[in-house]
């Protein structure tokens, strides 16, 4: 990651770090897709047209397990329902003319959303979103091609500890948001709801249901935080930053 650390802009640096980490996963997605019987072009098609890592893995996983295309599409879509929630949280940030908002929609993924939400002012949020979205798009697709062509020559990314990289990165983005009691309660309730539902619901539902955590935060914060100007709603949670 020498290149990543040599980039001076901190937001751009994080965007590149995330792109590389996602890219390593993209390689294994390419491998898995081809192993499941997809052509190289279909693997790349999923990465460019769908561009949602977890749902691509889910769809291909269903196919690999012998499931039909309908089940594959349904499980992929279920995992992406959280994008509607992330999109709503980012609606004040992703403004502009329609073509720009359409492009923003396509680049909306966990990483770009998390990076944007972690910044405190509007301009920084926009930069974080676009840098991360483009960086991950480039690395994810390049890696998919590489993985699909390399086939099954590569090993399990878990031996590198890569599966810990994503929750760790998201935790680093979440940390600075927790200065406010309402946000801490929302986060705690969201995590509890997600883990509580995980054994009983299809994949994708727990993370979406974590949205309900806001009720705990709202319940407590309502009227107890008079300095919290609703007009400054996106800046209030991020605190002073790192």
């Amino acid at each position: 990651m020498g290149f990543a650390t040599s980039v001076s802009d901190p937001v751009l640096r994080k965007a590149v770090v995330l792109g590389i980490a996602v890219g390593l996963y993209g390689v294994s997605f390419g491998v898995l897709a081809v192993t499941a019987g997809l052509s190289v072009w279909q693997a790349v098609g999923l990465s460019t047209l769908v561009f949602a890592g977890s749902s691509q893995f889910a769809a291909v996983g269903v196919i690999a397990a012998g499931g039909g295309p309908l089940a594959a599409v349904a499980s992929g879509l279920l995992l992406n329902t959280r994008m509607a929630a992330f999109g709503l949280a980012l609606a004040p940030v992703l403004t502009g003319r329609l073509p720009r908002r359409l492009l923003a929609s396509h680049l909306l993924i966990d990483e770009s959303a998390a990076m944007a939400l972690a910044e405190s002012d509007l301009r920084a949020k926009r930069r974080a979103f676009w840098f991360t979205g483009v960086s991950v798009f480039v690395f994810w697709n390049a890696a998919t091609i590489f993985g699909a062509l390399a086939g099954s020559l590569l090993g399990d990314p878990r031996t590198l500890g890569l599966d810990a990289a994503f929750p760790a990165g998201f935790l680093a983005l979440l940390g600075p948001m927790l200065h406010h009691r309402a946000a801490r309660l929302s986060a705690l309730a969201g995590a509890v709801v997600a883990l509580g539902l995980l054994p009983f619901t299809p994949p994708g539902v727990p993370i979406l249901a974590a949205s309900a955590g806001v009720l705990a935060g709202y319940w407590v914060a309502n009227g107890d935080d008079p300095g919290d100007d609703p007009g400054d709603h996106l800046g209030t949670l991020s605190g002073p930053g790192e």
């Binding site: 279909q42 909306l108 810990a164 979440l174 948001m177 929302s186 995590a191 993370i207």
Partner: protein
Amino acid sequence: MSWLAIVALAVGTFALKGVGPVLAGGRQMPAVLNRVVALLPAALLAGLVAVQTFGDGQTLTVDGRTVGVLVAAVAVVLRAPFIVVVVLAMAAAALVRGLG
């Protein structure tokens, strides 16, 4: 997997991703909704972290990855830079798996 399935997944995903930016983008929302939406990132990110830390399909599990995220949590509390948090988590997870 047919191209029809790929396109269906792509169109459906795009519709979900577009709910915020395309339908709600730039519009003034009621203050109550603003306050709820402002708390969404913390709740969603926490849900994401929890599921990615303990989830393995539909079972909850504790393994090398969990240790990696715990190490990351300590690093976050100590205000370590982003890349340090991520690299420490990966190293701890890989180490635990190597020993196990």
